[in-house]
């Protein structure tokens, strides 16, 4: 029962080559079937005039893509969506600050962690109903608070110029807990010995944060940045429920939804979807390069 040295190592090498694929196979298969195939099926639809009201469709070449370039409403929805990018730094900052707070040894910190995360687990439908109350211009909570401080009330969702701001407030409240969670997990990787050591060296807590904690949270920063930037491109739900007047909150995906599910122009909706996809893809790749991730 002697195994030659050569055989073992050869065996190990072949093992090695297959091993990574074994690890990623389930994920790749899943993505392939659940997203990729539907996407590949949707792509040809964008070259048809399909209404989705029956299986019949006609090929129309690039008509949908040409139409899109002259569609003012589409470009307007792009502008609306662009305003939501302010949300990204706000939500990251809110998540980081709260994570730092909740990483301190404060009394009742466990309960606080639960409370700070509670907006994320609250049903979006129920939360939107409540915020509609709070935003109500004449009698709502927010304007009462502004009035208490002697400030003039806003029209919030009912006014085209403040509607996006209102949705951003809602979205930050609803989602900052997720950034907090990621940062909290990230903070567990910052060894307390390093922080203590730097404290002994006389570094102020700001310096410790600036030069040690913040850089060590890099995986968290990159993930959150990427996810939230893509998330802004895909905003739908919040602007569907808190709708401002004059299409002031109609984002690209809202517009695609209108065309696909209300106007029954699924071909055109698909064309818009793939155009959006390409834009997001390019921006993400740029982001990727900019953040100097090793992959790509």
């Amino acid at each position: 029962m002697k195994v030659s040295q050569g055989a073992v190592s050869r065996n190990r090498i072949t093992m090695h080559r297959a091993v990574p694929y074994f690890f990623i196979a389930p994920a790749v298969i899943y993505i392939f079937f659940v997203t990729l195939i539907p996407a590949i099926m949707a792509l040809p639809i964008s070259f048809t005039d399909w209404s989705a009201l029956s299986p019949k469709k006609n090929f129309v070449g690039f008509d949908n893509y040409v139409r899109l370039m002259g569609d003012k409403d589409f470009w307007k929805s792009c502008l609306v969506m662009a305003q939501f990018f302010i949300y990204v730094p706000i939500v990251l900052a809110a998540g980081l600050v709260t994570a730092l707070l909740l990483n301190l040894k404060i009394k009742g910190v466990k309960l606080f962690r639960l409370i700070f995360y509670s907006p994320v687990i609250t049903s979006t439908i129920a939360a939107a109903i409540l915020f509609e109350y709070f935003f109500q211009p004449s009698f709502g909570l927010f304007n009462s608070i502004l009035g208490f401080f002697g400030l003039k009330g806003l029209g919030w969702v009912e006014n085209a110029s403040t509607a996006v701001l209102s949705v951003i407030i809602f979205k930050v409240w609803k989602d900052f807990g997720e950034a907090m969670l990621i940062y909290l997990a990230g903070l567990q990787d910052v060894p307390s010995e390093i922080k203590e050591a730097s404290a002994i060296d006389g570094a102020s807590s700001w310096q410790t944060f600036r030069y040690i904690t913040f850089p060590m949270l890099r995986p968290a920063h990159i993930y959150l940045l990427m996810k939230n930037v893509i998330g802004v491109f895909m905003i739908f739900q919040e602007t569907y429920m808190l709708k401002g007047p004059l299409n002031s909150t109609r984002t690209v995906v809202n517009y695609i939804y209108e065309k696909g599910f209300q106007s029954y122009q699924m071909g055109y909706a698909s064309a818009m979807s793939f155009s959006l996809f390409l834009i997001v893809l390019i921006i993400t790749m740029v982001q990727y390069k900019a953040t100097k991730l090793d992959v790509l």
Binding site: L43, F62, Y65, P137, E258, S263
Partner: protein, 442 residues
């Protein structure tokens, strides 16, 4: 802009290239073919079932409706009755959340798996009939002549396509006027009668408005351009909204339409009787902050539930001259192309029968569509409901009966009320968008 455009061209090219090398398009068409074959199979089996004697293998029908507690409960009971009367048919009920109904229905239509009988906004009938997704009611069960004879024209005309009836109405609504009796009495007006003409109505709306320090504290009329209201006043002014012969919207070209819309919007724009930032209109009416409302008769049943302390009066929509003409909106029961004709039509017939319509009106506040019920003493014993039923006497089919058309309309009205752009421009925009919307679906 230029960069963006070239980017998109690039995107389109890449996408085109991709679709060229994948096998997906081929797959797609073969998939379509498969499901079409399936349809004919199903049709065959359905036909076999029908021919092969009902008693042994009952035909089974699937039915979808958008849901509400009252409606679901009633439908369940009705189906029980129907199955007792028709032992050869079994009905499977599926209730869909109201807000997401079309999102649920479209994928089913796209894959030819729609239920046998379902509800649809009446404006969808033409679109679905064009695509062949639905088919006309079986003539031997419900003849076109009998439908024309028995039903209020405005209730069924919208369900006709190419001379054939494709469905029966449900959730039939007109526009009536509601007023807060307390506020009206406070303003020294007749709280029992209500305004009769538009001039009177607009006058009341000004008298019922109160401001404090330049801010609205009570609104005279919470109108913000809801389509059926505006369509009604346009009709009364003699405006042409939609040209049946040409199959096009023509409202932006008719000065009478402009006149009607200017009259409708003047209280909001000039007299400042209401402001969307004041309070949502129905919420405000419930709370006694708004004097007058136009709205669906469904509110007659809704208000006592949601605002038990509100004392309100109900009248016909105001008139221009003698005509209290009101726009009618409705949904329709239709059957999908693959449904067994005869059984499905029998079910639809049952749902629009005299007895069932009476129950709908009594329990859910929907208006009856059968002429015979318009004079039904039992139904008219409640004076408010009586007004609602009476409104059907002078009624016409609304021309904005799909959610896409409604969205365009709402957008236009928001622009008219909340911006200073000229009304003509806004109407032209809306008209061209609506005509685009009409382009034939596949």
């Amino acid at each position: 802009m230029k960069k963006m455009a070239s980017l998109l061209v690039a995107a389109a090219l890449v996408a085109g290239g991709l679709s060229g090398c994948t096998k997906a398009p081929a797959k797609e068409t073969s998939g379509g073919a498969v499901s079409q074959e399936k349809t004919t199979d199903q049709e065959k089996t359905a036909a076999e079932k029908e021919n092969g004697g009902g008693e042994k293998t009952p035909v089974s029908l699937t039915y979808w409706q958008h849901s509400s507690a009252a409606r679901d409960e009633m439908m369940t009971a009705l189906v029980k009755t129907f199955e007792e009367q028709n032992p050869d048919i079994k009905v499977k009920l599926e209730f869909i959340p109201e807000g997401d109904y079309s999102q649920k229905l479209i994928p089913a239509l796209a894959t030819d798996t729609a239920p046998d009988v379902f509800q649809i906004q009446s404006g969808m009938v033409a679109k679905l009939a064009q695509t062949g997704a639905i088919k006309p009611l079986a003539e031997e069960v419900m003849s076109a002549d009998s439908i024309t004879a028995d039903f209020v024209p405005a209730a069924v005309d919208g369900l006709k396509y190419d001379g054939k009836y494709y469905g029966m109405p449900t959730d039939l609504q007109t526009i009536v006027m509601l007023w807060n009796k307390k506020l009206v009495a406070e303003a020294g007006l007749d709280a029992e009668k209500g305004p009769q003409t538009w001039d009177e109505f607009f006058d009341w709306s000004r008298k019922l408005t109160k401001t404090e320090g330049g801010k609205l504290v009570q609104s005279g009329w919470g109108g913000k351009g809801y389509a059926p209201e505006v369509l009604s006043i346009i009709k009364q002014y003699g405006g042409a909204f939609y040209d049946d012969a040409a199959g096009q919207y023509v409202f932006a070209d008719d000065p009478k339409v402009l006149e009607a819309i200017e009259a409708y919007t003047a209280p909001y724009k000039t007299d400042k009787v209401y402001n969307t930032e004041f309070v949502k209109n129905w919420a405000g009416f419930r709370q006694g902050l708004i004097g007058l409302m136009l709205g669906h008769p469904a509110m007659i049943g809704n208000l006592p539930q949601t605002a038990p302390d509100l004392d309100f009066g109900v009248g016909l929509i105001p008139a221009k001259g003698d005509s209290h003409a009101t726009c009618v909106t409705s949904w329709g029961y239709v059957m999908s192309a693959k449904a067994p004709d005869e059984a499905a039509t029998r079910f639809i017939q049952f749902l629009s029968s005299d007895d069932v319509e009476r129950q709908w009106t009594e329990k859910t506040g929907e208006l009856p569509a059968r002429k015979a019920l318009l004079e039904d003493a039992g139904l008219k014993s409640d004076p408010k409901v009586a007004v609602a039923i009476e409104s059907l006497n002078d009624s016409f089919v609304g021309a904005l009966q799909t959610s896409a058309l409604n969205t365009i309309w709402t957008e236009a009205m928001d622009r008219i009320l909340q911006t200073d752009e000229p009304i003509e421009t806004i109407l032209k925009d809306a008209q061209s968008k609506m005509n685009d919307e009409l382009k034939n679906p596949v």
